[in-house]
Symmetry: C2
Subunit: 654 residues, 2 copies
Amino acid sequence: MHSLMPLPAEMKTTDEEMVIDSDFHVGLSGYVEPRLERAVTRLSERLAQITGISMHRDQSAAKEDATLLIHVDEKVAEVQSSTEDESYILAINAKGSVLSSRTLYGALRGIETFVQLVRLSDYGFVVPAVRIKDRPRFPWRGLLIDVTRHWIPPAVIKRNLEAMASVKLNVLHWHLTDDQGFRIESYRYPKLHELGSDGLFYTQDDVREIVEFASDRGIRVLPEFDMPGHTSSWFVGYPDLASAPGPYLIERNWGGHEATMDPTKEETYEFISNFLSEMVTLFPDLYVHVGGDEVSGKQWQGNPAILKFMVSEGIKDTRHLQAYFNLRLHGILNKLGREMVGWDPILHADLPEKSIIQSVRGQQWLAKAAREGFQGIAGSEYYLDLLRPAEFHYRSDPYGAEAAELTTEQQALIVGGEASMWTEFATAENIDSRIWPRAVVVAERLWSSHDITDVEDMYRRLAEVSQRLEWTGVTHKSGPRKMLHRLTDYDSIEALSTLSEILQPAFDMRWKNHDYTSMTPLNRLVDATVPESETARRFSRMVEQFIADPSAMSLHDALVTQLRTWQRNHMKLERDIQQSSLLTEVGPLSEALSQVAGIGLQSLAALTAGRAIPRAERETQATLLKQATDSIAELVIPIVPDIHKLTKAVLAGS
Amino acid sequence: MHSLMPLPAEMKTTDEEMVIDSDFHVGLSGYVEPRLERAVTRLSERLAQITGISMHRDQSAAKEDATLLIHVDEKVAEVQSSTEDESYILAINAKGSVLSSRTLYGALRGIETFVQLVRLSDYGFVVPAVRIKDRPRFPWRGLLIDVTRHWIPPAVIKRNLEAMASVKLNVLHWHLTDDQGFRIESYRYPKLHELGSDGLFYTQDDVREIVEFASDRGIRVLPEFDMPGHTSSWFVGYPDLASAPGPYLIERNWGGHEATMDPTKEETYEFISNFLSEMVTLFPDLYVHVGGDEVSGKQWQGNPAILKFMVSEGIKDTRHLQAYFNLRLHGILNKLGREMVGWDPILHADLPEKSIIQSVRGQQWLAKAAREGFQGIAGSEYYLDLLRPAEFHYRSDPYGAEAAELTTEQQALIVGGEASMWTEFATAENIDSRIWPRAVVVAERLWSSHDITDVEDMYRRLAEVSQRLEWTGVTHKSGPRKMLHRLTDYDSIEALSTLSEILQPAFDMRWKNHDYTSMTPLNRLVDATVPESETARRFSRMVEQFIADPSAMSLHDALVTQLRTWQRNHMKLERDIQQSSLLTEVGPLSEALSQVAGIGLQSLAALTAGRAIPRAERETQATLLKQATDSIAELVIPIVPDIHKLTKAVLAGS
């Protein structure tokens, strides 16, 4: 059973297999460029990682000797566009394999499919014989990484690019500036990064390296310079840009802020023009993301000169003033040979036609944009930082919700989507565990056919892809383990892992807590706990099955074993809880898990014996379960509803 | 209870503690150089990793505000020597801390001590109030990394340097050339790396970066160019250097080879001189390691011209011919301002006096060198690649064995030691797990007083230091987990971990198997299993204690739980074993563990009940235990002797 993700458009398999050993050799034909050669080197390195077999260093083979022949028809344009042909055909039989594509991009995608096909059989590493004809559903498949709320170093960006490539994502949307940080070096206006970043910014060399690293993997880099709001960090060094007098400081708090550029001064546009002229030398992509969200308008309304300008120019409200700003911005970008992308609040009748709208306030804005003739990118349904289950994102289609009512032509304006990782509550240490594996599900939604919707099969494949993703360098599995070690002061993490694995962060609680700032340490159990508990999901399925068929004894035994482990875990963890100030808060949670598991065991015993549970006891159980639904330490026990189901299945006693 | 490693020379503690939070600030006084400033940045990053609390980016504080004041008395010479003053005094009280040292090197060592002191208490992160006066016992504390048998990329070298610094090791002995690979770029003789490395070599930029990275951490880099033997890889491109006609190929097999430079031709010395002239521009250290081990002499004896030269020069045998070669080599090095280090076979009356001898054939050679007035480095007792227990290395003292009989003056010639990691059976993937944590024990032996010998306390501290070491970037814990995932084809590794954790590689078996070459995949369970099983060590202690006091019920219960886990594990693992060709070989081992655990349980039950075990059953047990001592798949079950002890403790039945 393969674990391809995203699933290809067409795939036929036979029973044959091709062996992967150290004789693996790639042959190249057709149009060969250095990026393809480097991809072949990476392929051989990745195969070496997956198999533990060193591949021959020199992968170039005579075509007739190649285990994998890669053929690319034609040259691509120097700069990757949003409409490249990424299709490929991969044919594997017992004797060899051929990957053919029109362009480099198809070959890059096909190589990743080949890598995912490798599996360990009872006689060695193999790829199954297949014939895959594949192409993406959407040409724009992105991941936004916010590097402003918390600093995300270059190495973390690179490993995420490697992981993106492995699941065929093709746009890094790099959210570089915001109230909380200006993260890119400007030679023209050095106070931007010097005063706006706490010294944590990408040098231009870093940027060039990352753009090239991405380009090698067929990934476009879309820089975002959020304007005219979200600009506090610009104003620390250049307060004259603002609509209200300074001084300004880097914002340490989350949520919207009032700092807004003054759209009425020519100096503002001169600054932006100079700044973007510098930036486009770093970012070759046709598009620049200009943000445009959450412009409060408050600074504009409080500034008499701006109000006067609005009157004299016949601009009736701040929304129109922002449209005016965007028109000017678009003019600047156009002179630089660029088009703009913005968040849906920039949608306005005056918006230049080639602009692209990214939904932030919901799918309805994507639909509205399409109806008004603008291209769109689905954003709002794929916010990874909200820590929703993979299933939620899997069920969200760019043509879903309000977009479902669009005509075919209107739908065609929706060019794809982006998973977004905002970093109010993520650091370099745990960001991978917030992005992965759930971004894979978004990747599949954007690449594969809309009718690929089997959630169970998705989770099965996701579990395997997730394990293998660590070979790309992302630390979504190993990172949290290190954090658990910290929590026990480098003692054993066995009991703490057992607890963490059955918990989930209560993200809403966290977002509602306004005490958080960028200086608040994110070193608690909630930060080391992954968004979605695979253990809980499996337990939930087992409970469902057991309730459907309580005579299934192996299921019963598995449930008992699992519940006993949870019941006893608190005892094991107690000493660590007492000794670690970071664990104090989870004591009640650990205890609650133990109690909840105990109720599960009681219910199972009663069910098996066909015995009723006395009313008083049922009431105690109900109270405990009700309490256990509350979050503690910003964490919840997701199996409480399953235990509740078990208690419901037991006969009511009097 | 602290877990400092290596233990400091003098240490006093009180009950006070100093809090570590985001207000932590370093102040610098005295002689401040850029390396110290960078060390302070790293300190703040490391503290952020350990605590999960971001430290203020700008760590320079007014002296009076500093939480940690670092004072360095004086400037050091540009190039680090083998006799630097590394002493420091670290004084911490509840209000602040002061680290003072004569030189940068003392400060670097003291910073690592400070970092190791950080612990999580029941009210936050703290360092205990201490007064530490510390200095190393030996000035030369090295780690040899062989990068020839398997290629070890720059990133792996760097993370190992970081780990070395954290335990105060100060020499990277970089084994760069050997029969199996020439791993450094030469502009003068490009065929050395082009033809001698399969394309896997360090560019000169890589080398410069690594030397600087090491220098920043107070680590000297000692390059080794092994001559005149171990030189097959040189001869692939330059066969005229050899004592027998070519062509030569890169050696793929392990063990000694015959390829030897021709010491009678002036062209050989001209080549070496040109080559070393180029290399000393990369390596500023006073010393160059010239190897000199395992010179077979066979090529020399088979070459009439060489034999003729020996007669005409009055050189009576090949040993003296090597001495002649070394004298010439020393002349070349001296012209370049360098001295030589070599393996103990270079020891010879003609050896120049400033040369340093590193033991390879045993401690007696170190003693002999000292008696003959040469400086020495203890090598042979610290071969990490032989996968001996930490305890073995801990008990090996540079002044031990034959060196114990030296006079004080002679002992003073022994300047330190080096842990060695040869890579016949290690790759970039698992080398960290072969080096760490055992190299820490060598570090302590070389830094701390000779009378620090409490093995139990060593293991206690080692366990914690080992966990924290992963923050330096080494993957000795997380790497093997990834390898286990591969073995199950990315399925759960729970059962496989349980098995792996109680096994140990049978290194002797592996070394005796001559089928291994550099192309043999190292992707089996033995490669993912760490050298020393902490689980086995703890189990062994528990058995000892239980036999001493069989009435200790909590001990009894813990033993039963552990044994039951092992007994049942085979059942859990069976499906993976059937499906994975890489696990087939461990099936019998997994089954043997289950049986051994079963015998343990029978013995415990009999002991508790005061019951005898019938003779026939005892015989069956004895047979099974005997079989279980044999290695399977190059792995052994180290607890078999413990189970044997348990059976012995049971009453004999008839």
